[in-house]
Amino acid sequence: MSHDVMIDLQQVNKFYRGQKAPVVENMSMTIQQGEIIVLVGPSGCGKTTTMKMINRLIEPSSGRILIDGTDVTALDGNDLRRQIGYVIQQVGLFPHMSVATNVGLVPKMLGWDAKRIEARADELLDLVGLEPAIYRNRLPRQLSGGQQQRVGVARALAADPPVMLMDEPFGATDPMTRDRLQNEFLRLQEQLRKTIVFVTHDFDEAIKMGTRIAVLGERSKIRQFDTPENLLASPADDTVAQFIGRGARLKQLDLRRVDAITWEDVPLIQPDKTTNGAKRQLEQTEGSSALTVDADNRPLRWVNADELTAAAGALDGDAGQTVTTVEPQATLRDALDAMLASRDGAAVVVDERGRYAGTVTLDGLMQVIHHTPERGTSGSGVPDQRVGAAPAAELAPEQR
C-alpha cells in the first residue's frame, strides 16, 4: 500500500444556524490512498454530514478538506462532485433513464463522446457482474434491489474517480444480498484500489469492509480510529466497547484465517500400514487420536487409542469418526465450526488438493485470540510439534 495521503480533513467544523452545538466539531482525519475508511457510529452522530462535506454536498463551516493535496473549497462544487464517486443507500437511479444512460451520466457531463460513453457503460456493467447485452437497455425498476445497487456502484465508478463516498450503500438490501454485494465490492476494490469513505451504522459491516474504522461519538468526535483487528482486541473506552457489542471475540474470528494459528501434527495411519506405529506415537505424545489417510494423504477418519487397540493390527474402513476439514484460507470462524463438529475439538487443515497439512485445535485458537494485541507472538506457548507450514502472520488489512 502506498502511503500517499488522499483525503485530509483538517479541523473541520459544521454549524447550522440556530443550533448551538456544532454537528461536526474539530474533525481531523488523514486517509491514505487505497484505504476503505468506515465511519461508524450511532445515528445522528454526524457521520453522514462528515462524509458529505468531502464532496461539499454540505459546505463545511470552517476547516480545510484536501483531496490529493487540493483544497476542495477552491473548486466548483459540481465539478468536484463529478470527480468523486457517490453511492447512497436508496441507490437513486433515475427511473426514466435506462441502466446504460444512468451509468453514463457523469461521463456525459464531462463531455465524453457518445461512443466512448457507451463502451464505458458496457465495461462497467460487466465489471459489476451485469451482462451488458441483457441489462443496458432496462429501466431501473426492472432490476432487483441488489442489481440496482450494482448499477449504482457502476454509475459512481463511471468516470474512474480516485475517491468514492458510500453512504450505507448496502443498507437497504436483504442480508443475503448484502453479504454478496459486500464480497463483490471487496473483490472489486482489490483491482480498483479506490480511496473510499464508507458510512454505516452496522458494526459488523464496518469490520468486514474497513481497512480502518473510525468509531464516532457525538459531533463526529473520533473515539477510536484503528484497524478492525485492533478495535476488536482493545476498544479505547467503554462507549466503543459498547458499540462493538457482544461477541467481539467471535467477530475477531471472522477477520483471521486458519494460517494465522499454529498447526499441530497428529499420528497418521497410511492405508497399508499397521496401526502399531501410530499407537506408539500416540503414547509418546499423549495425544488421543490418530488420523487415517488414503494413498494420496487425504484425511479419512479419526481413530482413538481404544479403537486402535480393538482393531489389533488392521483397521476396517468404518472405525472411528469422520473428519471435518478446513483450508488454510478459511476464517477462524469456519475452523471453530469444524472443531466443534469433531469429537476431539480438532479440525484437519488440508491443502487445495485435499491432502493433509496439519490440524488446528481449540487450544491453538485460544492462543491466538488471547495474544491478539501483541503481534507476532503466536506459537510461543505451543510445544515443538509445530508444523513449519504457514507462519502465523497477522492478516494485514490491505491483503484482504
Partner: protein, 242 residues
C-alpha cells in the same frame, strides 16, 4: 331549419369559430403553462412562497368570468386580448398546483443523487425533475384546458373570438329563427372540441411519458408508471360560469 341544416348552411363560419375557439384556449393554456411552471419552480421548495402562489392563483379562479372580462375591458379594451388574459388567469391554478405537487413528490433520493454525481441545479431540473413531474404537470394542463374551453365561450361577451358568439347571439334572440340552433351548436361545439383536445393531450401524455417507449398500436403490459398522475387536481370551480 333543422340543426343539421343549420350546420350545413353555416359550415364555414362555424369551422372558423371552432378554430378560433381552440386557438385562444390553447394559447392561454400554453401561456399559463409557461407562467405556472416557472412560478412553481420559483416557489415549490419554500412552503410559504408556495402557499402564497397557489393562494393567488386560487383567488383568480374564483372571480366570476363575466366580472373579470368586464373589468379587463378598461385596461385592455375589447376583443381578443382581455379574453386571452382572463383565460390564462383561470388556467393558471391547476397547472401551478400540479407542477408544485409533481416536483415536491419526487423522491428526495433522486435529487440528492443528481447533486451527488455533480449535476447543476438546471441540469437536474431539466433532465430529472421536470421529466419525472411531467405526467402530473400534464394532468394539470388537461384540467386547465377543459376548464377554459367553457370559460372561453363567455369571452364573446367582450367581443372575443370563438363559439361563444353562436351561444350569445342565440341567447340574445331567443324565440327567433335559428336562435335555438345557434345556442345548441355553440354548446355542443364547445363540448366536442373539449373532448377532442383532451384526447389529443392524453395521446401527447403517452408519447412523452419519460422512460417509456410509446407502443401505441400494441397492448402494453400492465405495469404502472412510477408516477401516476393522480394528485391535486382541483375540481374546476364553476365560480365564473353562470
Amino acid at each position: 331549419m333543422t340543426f343539421l341544416e343549420y350546420l350545413q348552411s353555416r359550415r364555414e363560419l362555424l369551422l372558423a369559430q371552432t378554430l378560433e375557439h381552440a386557438t385562444i384556449v390553447l394559447m392561454s393554456v400554453a401561456l399559463a403553462t409557461v407562467i405556472g411552471v416557472l412560478v412553481a419552480l420559483w416557489t415549490y421548495r419554500n412552503p410559504r412562497t408556495r402557499a402564497v402562489a397557489t393562494g393567488i392563483a386560487a383567488a383568480m379562479l374564483t372571480i366570476p368570468s363575466f366580472a373579470l372580462l368586464g373589468l379587463l375591458i378598461a385596461p385592455l379594451g375589447l376583443g381578443y386580448t382581455p379574453t386571452l388574459v382572463a383565460l390564462t388567469m383561470y388556467a393558471l391554478l391547476p397547472i401551478l398546483r400540479n407542477t408544485i405537487v409533481g416536483l415536491s413528490e419526487i423522491d428526495p433520493a433522486l435529487t440528492e443523487a443528481a447533486r451527488g454525481i455533480g449535476m447543476s441545479r438546471l441540469r437536474s431540473l431539466s433532465t430529472v425533475e421536470i421529466p419525472l413531474a411531467w405526467p402530473v404537470i400534464l394532468t394539470g394542463i388537461r384540467v386547465s384546458t377543459q376548464m377554459t374551453m367553457g370559460i372561453a365561450a363567455v369571452g364573446a361577451y367582450v367581443g372575443g373570438p370563438g363559439l361563444g358568439n353562436q351561444i350569445f347571439s342565440g341567447l340574445a334572440n331567443l324565440g327567433g329563427v335559428n336562435s335555438l340552433n345557434q345556442a345548441l351548436v355553440g354548446t355542443v361545439g364547445v363540448i366536442v372540441l373539449a373532448l377532442t383536445v383532451d384526447f389529443a393531450l392524453a395521446l401527447l401524455g403517452k408519447l412523452t411519458r419519460a422512460g417509456h417507449r410509446p407502443k401505441l398500436f400494441r397492448p402494453r403490459p400492465a405495469r404502472r408508471p412510477t408516477l401516476t398522475p393522480t394528485t391535486a387536481v382541483p375540481s374546476p370551480s364553476l365560480g365564473g360560469r353562470e
